[in-house]
């Protein structure tokens, strides 16, 4: 066991079981999966992407490229989970991935032998012959080999949530810098959010044996966290990674609420927060970088800072005999910590020739690691000493440190590039690149603990000043202030493959090949070799890659430049970003007033403009929707039908200039409409195309109510507001949407008046309510509105009552209609009725057709301007060859007519050049006893009586049709007026 006898911030009093690849192991609360695996002597945890090389744990953070496992089973299986950040819980089940049949014996490890042929971009140069083999042979093989973990293919069974937070100051990272900043701002009374992706606040203070103000670093951190927790104006957010820096102070953040628990018990596993901040401080620390040398990817080779974290925070030794390789004092620091923990250190290999030796360890100044041995786990390292000698050092773990890269990620999310600093041989955050965001601590290149505290405090003070708050006194605790003493070392020259990007298997050789092939710009280097495109997004590999390209091209590292930093900072589950999109959650439902009644009547549903509308109402004995639909059509044509039309947009328009306003937005004239009358109206977009149609009712001299189609209600309202506020600000007009205020029902059919008069408090007749009349009525004492309008072509009304009475009215109407031999009808019947009558819907006015095309040129009134009029007069909009709306009925053998069929001349061919139009709407007309359709036909109005074909190539139906005038039904309109 590699669990150290003492130390660490784990709870040794409790043991928790977990499993890895089927083996049951135990760990302690406070462990991550990675620390628990190390404590159980598990070294081999994964396989690399391309060569399937055996891999171990490299880091102790979210940048981990190797230790990715599948977590959980069945639908809950989560691929690519970083063992280094997954907290241990009882019953955790982890499985290694991207290997077959087992982690130890992985068949695809042969790829490693083929490596000479699998260099950078090899796939662009082959697999081209024979042509058809790509989809059938090569690609399936490549696809199966590629990829890391497996999705279950089943719906994600867990809960996720999203939320909004607001603060004066967002502090990202709770190491010494972030804690200090949050403390200063919290004490000053600012609304502070302190977020850290780790479970515990403290950052490196948890991983190092440092003292702050005389107490252990982690104790100081715990003390500050406790004070912050007590302040009502501070929100502490552990387990929360800030993922992206967006415009104007907006940040995305992922809180892992229950990922550390065996069961979430109704809580979301994760919450994706949108944080709106006035100021922000990035105190995200730094990420240690590996050194590239031959076979630097063996299990057991680990970042030195991670080794210290495993020892100091988790009491887990990554090895029994550890060698250390570094280019700074991080090496000596690691040796001291290892020794303090009682771990044998077999050598300190320090690349700096002048490095001072610590006590009690074989020391090699000016030496380099040139190779390593051990297939499934490190056995030894080979070094070249300062004098050129070669030595082999036994070690099952190598702690390596190539220096630290400030965690600049978030500061570069708005296209800025980081700035190079020679003194620390690293890129630091650029100033002002994200307005309102500044970096502090190691993220700003302030590498000592004192400097972290100081820069954190300074950043907080500056933010407080910006926020108009006074900073109080917040003294700095005393802390180490060691200078950064580092000699840059990116790779060790020599034979063998030296890894840069561990997961994507990009080696120094690949960079050299990219250079040879002239993929020299960094972005080409990245794309050609895939360097930095793995799950760590180059956090560990990019800078070394650039450094090597710099060497090859004789340029400096900043001249080579970095690739683009993009959100998210750490990968985020789609389930969290898209929380509540699943199931019914993607968009709100809208219910009509007759919803309950329709449910009782067994309606079949369809959706329009988020509304759920009844499509038809099946009755016993009906097995097919058309049977129900035709029965409902018959009711309307012969008796009376009731249909909920509440969904149509209704806009109340009032004001001295209301009529003038309507004249401008409608193609036709509304100012001449008499009170208590309704007129059909057409609106164009400014490009001359029909936007919507509806009715306009004049309720008073300066009072109108217009209707829109269901789907266009929102857009038309916005359009009218635009015209009123922006184009015609002088017009004195006001509008209010009353769609929801009024429940409205169509009462259609020859018995509609009979039905109505059985309900209204005062009778109506052809004089009080002629066709296209409207006015107030009362029923049961409730003030209502009655419109004599008809979409069906029958004598019909629409009756509106305040929505609370909608359900009651619907029931009443239906009961009366039932008694008169009619009843409820749905959208399908409505559609048949309107096609028979030649009325258009958005199937016809689909956004491409003009008033001319829908055969309503006279709807565009002369002598006044209106929206869209000028553009509708462009030559291309009026030429005779444009499609025009006509009716079709089968000529000869009665065949199916299908919407979407294309129109072709009788002797023509169904090829693009000969298409004359298409069918927009089609149905079987129960009234006429044969199929009918509406269609656009080039120059159609002049061709009434011609025959033409409607060809549905998809369904293989070719129907000879006669072009007929619209409407099909009651062309004289006698039934309307009846």
């Amino acid at each position: 066991m590699s669990r150290l006898p003492k130390g660490g911030l784990i709870d040794r009093s409790r043991s928790i079981p977990f499993s890895f690849d089927g083996a049951t192991l135990t760990g302690h609360p406070g462990d991550t999966l990675a620390s628990a695996l190390l404590a159980n002597d598990v070294r081999l945890v994964g396989r690399s992407f391309k060569y399937h090389r055996p891999r171990g744990i490299l880091s102790a953070g979210s940048e981990e490229p190797n230790a990715l496992v599948e977590l959980g089973e069945g639908a809950a299986r989560l691929p690519n989970t970083r063992a280094t950040t997954q907290e241990l819980f009882a019953g955790l089940v982890a499985t290694s991935q991207n290997r077959w049949p087992s982690l130890k014996r992985d068949i695809l490890a042969v790829n490693d032998l083929m490596a000479p042929f699998f260099g950078a971009g090899f796939y662009y140069k082959t697999f081209m012959w024979p042509k058809r083999f790509w989809e059938s042979v090569y690609e399936p093989i490549i696809r199966r080999a590629a990829g890391l973990g497996r999705l279950s293919g089943l719906p994600d069974p867990d809960h996720y949530d999203k939320g909004f937070l607001h603060c004066d100051l967002l502090v990202i990272g709770a190491g010494p810098a972030g804690l200090m900043a949050a403390l200063a701002a919290g004490r000053a009374g600012a609304r502070v959010i302190l977020a850290d992706e780790a479970a515990q606040m403290g950052g490196r203070l948890l991983a190092e044996r440092l003292e702050l103000g005389g107490s252990a670093g982690h104790e100081w951190a715990a003390g500050v966290a406790a004070e912050l927790a007590s302040l009502p104006n501070v929100r502490l957010m552990p387990r929360t990674a800030v993922t992206g820096a967006y415009d104007h102070g907006a940040f995305g953040a992922l809180e892992r609420v229950a990922d550390h628990l065996a069961a979430a018990r109704g809580a979301p596993r994760q919450i994706f927060w949108r944080i709106q901040s006035r100021r922000a401080i990035l105190a995200g620390g730094a990420i240690e970088r590996p050194i590239a040398f031959a076979n630097n990817d063996r299990p057991g080779i680990m970042l030195a800072g991670a080794v210290r974290r495993y020892i100091n925070q988790y009491g887990a030794a990554p090895g029994a005999r550890v060698a250390v390789f570094a280019n700074s004092d991080e090496g000596a620091r690691s040796v001291v910590d290892l020794q303090a923990a009682g771990v044998e250190v077999t050598a300190l290999i320090d690349a700096r020739p002048d490095a001072k030796a610590p006590d009690g360890v074989p020391h090699f100044a000016g030496a380099l690691v040139t190779n390593t041995r051990g297939r499934l786990g490190l056995k030894s390292v080979t070094i070249r000493t300062a004098s050129g000698g070669v030595e082999t050092i036994a070690a099952d773990c190598l702690a390596m440190s190539g220096g630290w890269n400030p965690n600049v990620h978030l500061t570069c999310h708005q296209n800025a590039r980081p700035v190079w600093r020679d003194d620390i041989a690293a890129f630091v955050a650029p100033d002002g690149a994200v307005p309102g965001l500044v970096a502090a601590g190691a993220a700003a290149g302030a590498f000592s603990t004192h400097a972290a505290l100081q820069t954190g405090l300074d950043a907080a003070k500056a933010a407080l000043t910006d926020l108009g708050l006074k900073s109080g006194k917040t003294p700095l605790p005393k802390a180490e202030d060691a200078p950064c003493d580092l000699t840059p070392l990116w790779h060790v020259a020599g034979k063998g493959r030296a890894w840069l990007d561990f997961q994507n298997d990009v080696t120094v050789k690949d960079v050299k090949q990219a250079h040879a092939e002239n993929f020299i710009p960094v972005e080409h280097l990245k794309r050609y070799t895939t360097l930095g495109m793995a799950t760590d997004q180059g956090k560990l590999s990019n800078i070394a890659g650039l450094a090597i390209m710099a060497e090859l091209t004789g340029r400096s590292i900043p001249e080579v430049g970095t690739t683009t930093y993009r959100p998210p900072y750490v990968p985020v589950q789609i389930a969290a970003l898209g929380a509540h999109g699943e199931g019914q959650g993607f968009a709100p439902h809208r219910q009509t007033p007759s919803d309950a009644l329709s449910r009782e009547r067994g309606a079949s549903w369809l959706e329009a403009g988020l509304w759920h509308r009844a499509a038809w109402y099946p009755q016993t004995g009906e097995s097919f929707w058309r049977q129900s639909c035709e029965r409902e059509v018959g009711w309307v044509r012969n008796a009376v039908g009731i249909c909920d039309v509440t969904t149509l947009g209704k806009i109340d328009i009032q004001g001295p200039d209301a009529a003038a306003f309507l004249d401008f937005v409608y193609t036709n004239t509304m100012s001449t409409l008499k009170p208590n009358r309704v007129r059909y109206g057409l609106m164009l977009r400014e490009d001359g195309t029909v936007m919507d149609d509806g009715t306009c009712a004049r309720l008073g001299a300066a009072h109108f109510v217009i209707t829109t189609t269901t789907a266009a209600a929102g857009p038309v309202m916005a359009h009218l507001e635009f015209v009123a506020q922006v184009l015609c600000p002088r017009l004195d007009v006001q509008m209010v949407s009353v769609t929801e205020q009024w429940a409205q029902f169509a009462i259609a059919g020859p018995k509609s008046r009979e039905l109505l008069n059985g309900l209204l408090d005062a009778q109506v007749d052809n004089d009080s309510f002629p066709y296209m009349g409207c006015g107030p009525v009362s029923l049961g004492g409730v003030a209502a509105r009655l419109f004599r309008i008809s979409f069906s072509g029958e004598h019909a009304y629409e009756l509106a009552v305040p929505a609370r009475y909608g359900d009651s009215l619907a029931r009443l109407l239906v009961a009366r209609a039932d008694a008169l031999g009619g009843g409820l009808y749905g959208m399908e019947a409505l559609n048949v009725l309107r096609i028979e009558k030649g009325h258009i819907t958005h199937a016809e006015i689909d956004g491409r057709y003009s008033a001319f095309d829908i055969s309503m040129p006279r709807m565009v009134a002369a002598g006044k301007d209106c929206i869209g009029k000028a553009m509708a007069a462009r030559p291309g909009m009026v030429e005779p060859a444009r499609p025009q709306l006509v009716g079709l009925k089968p000529a000869g053998v009665v065949k199916h007519l299908k919407a979407g069929a294309i129109m072709v001349e009788v002797d023509g061919a169904p090829v693009r050049e000969q298409i004359k139009g298409h069918v927009t709407s089609a149905c079987f007309s129960p009234t006429l006893g044969h199929p009918i359709a509406l269609a656009y036909v080039a120059g159609g109005v002049a061709r009434i009586g011609d025959t033409i074909r409607a060809v549905d190539l998809l369904g293989g139906v070719d129907t000879l049709c006669e072009i007929v005038a619209l409407p099909f039904y009651d062309p004289e309109g006698g039934r309307l007026r009846g």
Binding site: A76, P79, N80, P116, F117, F122, Y123, Y124, T126, M128, E135, R144, A146, L148, G149, L151, S152, G153, L154, D156, D158, F272, Q414, K509, A516, E517, F519, P521, E523, R527, A534, Q537, R566, P567, P568, P571, I574, A575, G578, G581, Q584, G585, F586, A587, E607, R685, D687, A843, R848, R874, G876, V878, A899, I902, R912, I915, H918, V951, L953, L954
Partner: protein, 416 residues
Amino acid sequence: MRYSAFQILKQGLTGNKGWTPVWRNPTPKAEYDVIIIGGGGHGLATAYYLAKNHGLSNIAVLERGYLGGGNVGRNTTIVRANYHLNGNSEFYSHSLKLWEGLEQELNYNAMMSQRGVINLCHSDGQFDFYAERGNRIRAQGDDAELLDREGVKKHAPFLNFSNERFPIRGGLLQRRGGTARHDAVAWGFARGADMRGVDLIQNCEVTGIDITAGRVTGVQTTRGAIRAKRVGMAVAGRSSQVGQMAGLRLPIESHVLQAFVTEGLKPIIPGVITFGVGHFYISQSDKGGLVFGGDIDGYNSYAARGNMPIMEHVMEAGMAMMPALGKARVLRGWGGIVDMTMDGSPIIDKTPVEGLFFNGGWNYGGFKATPASGWCFAHLIATGNHSEHATKLLMNRFATGHVLDEERTGAQPNKH
């Protein structure tokens, strides 16, 4: 150097030391017969076809950044020929045919993968619209199938078929559609052009267009002035800026379109799936990442990065359509600047300046056009006449009213 399995073997056995530059780094000459502004997919393809189809050789492509760094290098790689309107249909149809032979043509594996594109629909109205589109595609000579719900279920069983917010009514499937490896397309055309003598000049931003007496004479660049007899613009999202250098005002707005990729996963998604109601589309790259996107953010932008609301909308749509996506992690999101025209269709045309040609307005869909765009633009530049495949993609269509409004949403790009 000709690429082949044999070449890989040979190089592999000799330590991979013999690979040669995929293209040269020439210094700009003082004068070219043709200058193409923009080293994106279209610019590079244009140069390639100018050399290949029209025998021109004194050509330069000027690129402000690195070759293929624009939208060609950041798109969701969907290739299809399922357009509606005369003008677009024949153009994209031609393009798909060129895609089908591209690897052999370029001796570069662009990984054109014809695993099908399916557009899901959710209402009878949409179904009818797709029927019309399908019929028109078939009339053009391309493939299309209209699947009902059961058919979709067979094709993509992991979609949400129970408790769906927008029940799947059917889908329009084009089996010849698919994806291609975006970078390889740019690199393949670049390499092909370079091999035919075209000078590919990177880090060379055009800052001015020289015009004398209504005729183009050359360009000003960050690497000095270069004379040219003819100049073609293929700068996508930057069309308005470069156009302005020649006094052109364009029917174009530049918008940001975001896209996303997940961590690598074992194969799960066949071909391309689009979810119309949610403006969502997804495919899986050969590397295993799920590549997906949605609508443009909806405001003018040259920032090539977007904001959270659209990103979240895309993710929610993904969850609505494919709840199994929940366990996939988004690895990276990015943005590209797309050149949105007022009718959503592109422009390949002459300009009022003699010798200056315009190619742009590709909206969010110009990757699939890459080969045909290069083909037709080269034809126009070389001959002065429109190629038979692109006779209607004209600049003046907004004045004449012959607009090509595929999406039927009118002159407001963020509604397309």
